[in-house]
Homo-oligomer: 235 residues x 2
């Protein structure tokens, strides 16, 4: 099982790793197919030893060898990936991500999207995989409820026919933004250090600005900026 610490192996078999009792409970409730479970005696006793086709009772030391976590916790699972194309398309906001690199940021943005009812995230092909174990854990279950698509982003933006909001230094300050906003819109978030790429920025129809009130910080964390914009655009 330790081979699944390699992302390539997970990609080849179209599975992803889920760890810990909280995320495991989300997986069991999700309707996703659980292929393999490696868990402690206690977890198996509490959850039934038949939750997956393949269930292994393992020691904590074995769990540690499998785990990507600092503190492995009771249960490790391999879950089969599933296309969530059947999810109803959002009627308010689609999140578009341009070259997000940090797994924690993508997972946190998926979690925030989940909170605000955003079910569709469109990513540039060079955005980190939503099945990266750190993304899965940071998403806090949103990976089971969000359709994450990887596309040629500038081309997709060019042909989607929707207003595109994106943060820009030349944008309209968020507190004075015009209401009512378009019903269905795209919110475009850029790379952690380089922002939105020029080819994607060309498709932003509604540039907006989160005012730098302090005047000392260089930038906001990408998942924080995404949350503030989502909240202002649909909250």
């Amino acid at each position: 099982m330790a081979a699944y610490r390699q992302q390539r192996r997970c990609d080849e078999e179209a599975v992803f790793v889920v760890e810990g009792p909280k995320m495991a409970a989300e997986a069991l409730a999700s309707g996703f197919v659980i292929r393999t479970v490696c868990a402690t005696t206690e977890w198996l006793a509490a959850n039934g030893a038949g939750v997956a086709a393949e269930c292994h009772e393992v020691s904590l030391a074995e769990l540690e060898r499998l785990s990507n976590q600092k503190a492995p916790n009771q249960v490790w699972m391999l879950v089969e990936r599933k296309d969530l194309n059947d999810l109803k398309d959002p009627d308010d906001l689609i999140l578009a991500l341009d070259r997000i690199q940090d797994p924690g940021n993508l997972g946190t943005m998926m979690r925030t999207a989940d909170w605000y009812g955003i079910r569709h995230i469109v990513c540039s092909t060079d955005t980190v995989s939503c099945y990266n174990p750190k993304v899965v854990q940071a998403s806090m279950g949103a990976v089971f409820r969000t359709r994450v698509e990887y596309v040629d982003l500038p081309q997709w933006l060019a042909t989607c026919g929707m207003p595109v909001f994106g943060a820009s230094l030349q944008g309209e300050p968020l507190p004075t933004i015009h209401h009512p906003l378009p019903a269905l819109k795209i919110l475009l978030i850029g790379n952690e250090s380089r922002g939105i790429s020029p080819v994607a920025m060309a498709h932003v129809t509604h540039p907006v600005l989160i005012p730098n009130i302090g005047g000392t910080a260089e930038s906001l964390n990408a998942s924080v900026a995404a949350a503030i914009l989502i909240d202002r655009l649909i909250g």
Copy 2:
């Protein structure tokens, strides 16, 4: 120098570790005293070999032994802690943190506070240290511009004489919150998994709610919730 990987050693000598050229530039510009620099030939050539009382030229392998980072980057510094009591107290919002455990969350909240001009953060004594290396790095320089105080939080809240905003399931929904808001206020943020403790919650005068529009996510990331609330309360 590797002894400074231990937080206790840093606490005893009232210093903290700063890494990488971006944060090192912030440190040099901050007016804080740099006690020690360990850096590559290139970094020292570009920044001057006299930037600290003690400057060592080190190899990448030596830098790796010192570093807390996954990818150590050119320069490692020991910076002397400094009381920022002389900072003008904010006239709009003081951030109060109840038992924040995750260093990334505290650092990100400091960075968001910096963006919004919040210069004073008051933490419960069991909140993670603002000098934890992961906090310092995630703060993106805010550690040099923010007064972070550790206090008996419930007692401080009881005697501060200011309105206290805090997230609560029984709170007023954020989008319909009454304006104008009190000029000077406290925003209280609770622990990542347990929220605001009951003893601190007793002092919340303005409970607010970030509506769970999706209805599926259990919670928001603490630093994301803090950012949304800060933006709504002072943005």
